[in-house]
Symmetry: C2
Subunit: 165 residues, 2 copies
């Protein structure tokens, strides 16, 4: 069965060792349904090994339960801390492994592409992206301010994957 | 059962997307036995998703078959290419996941520590490290020159984990 023959289920992830935002959209015909969204918080009290294990288990469950067919990620760029950047790679590697294990397509988009897809303007601010995502999915308003940013970022990259194909 | 009660089996890995060197040492009493060593080559023709999957399967098989109890890795430092560094994180993340899944201890050593443990001199050259490792395990001489470097690096970090505890 070709990918195009069945409905697409996209998992958008904004990975991080403290908070990972995620959103899962289902595309059926031309319509999008938000199947799930939220965030995974991992205590820094836990070892890196434990956190990597928790991250894997959390997203493997979602992929299996909701029949995810694609993963959408934003390309990472080196920030101030090279070791934080490397460790972000650990989580991205786990998502790639899940893609391999469950035969998912992986999309990577540059931040410009995501901003452009969501707001129509590639140099939009993070806030403008969040506002547009909240206009499309008003129920995200109920999230706390800190976590909301991670979820809207994940949903933005998910929407980008949704619209780009 | 405590870790100290059984014999230790250490997997030393020098991960890389083109060649990954590895070595597996078993500690029984005061003696070390080289159970396995070699390298994993992954074609750049394969997608990142495929290569991450191959890497996971290769090392999971070795861990299970040889009863690995610990993983030893050298700390990575940012080189010239940030995206290569990030992708190295993908492979390290897979090793952390394997540690979580199979209850392995992970050791990370700075290059200085590895060099110091193997040659007695923290600022030793890569060549000096390789020469010392080859003196301890002469059968590695049979490897091709390019792969040998990756295997001696992996065995050096493995020896470091072996001696440090």
């Amino acid at each position: 069965m070709e990918q195009g023959d069945r409905s697409r289920v996209l998992l958008g992830v904004d990975p991080g060792f403290s908070i990972t935002g995620y959103a899962i959209l289902k595309k059926d015909g031309g319509k999008a349904y938000l199947l799930d969204y939220g965030f995974l918080k991992m205590s820094s009290q836990k070892s890196l090994v434990e956190r990597v294990g928790i991250f894997f288990t959390c997203f493997e469950q979602k992929i299996v339960q909701l029949g995810v067919t694609e993963i959408a990620l934003e390309t990472s760029f080196l920030g101030k801390n090279a070791q934080t950047f490397l460790k972000l790679g650990y989580l991205r590697g786990i998502l790639y492994l899940l893609a391999s294990k469950h035969h998912l397509i992986v999309h990577e988009f540059a931040p410009r592409e995501v901003k452009g897809a969501v707001t129509g303007y590639g140099a939009a601010s993070k806030d403008q992206v969040a506002q547009m995502v909240l206009r499309l999915f008003p129920k995200l308003q109920t999230l706390g301010a800190i976590e909301r940013q991670d979820v809207t970022d994940a949903l933005a990259v998910c929407l980008c994957g949704f619209w780009k194909q």
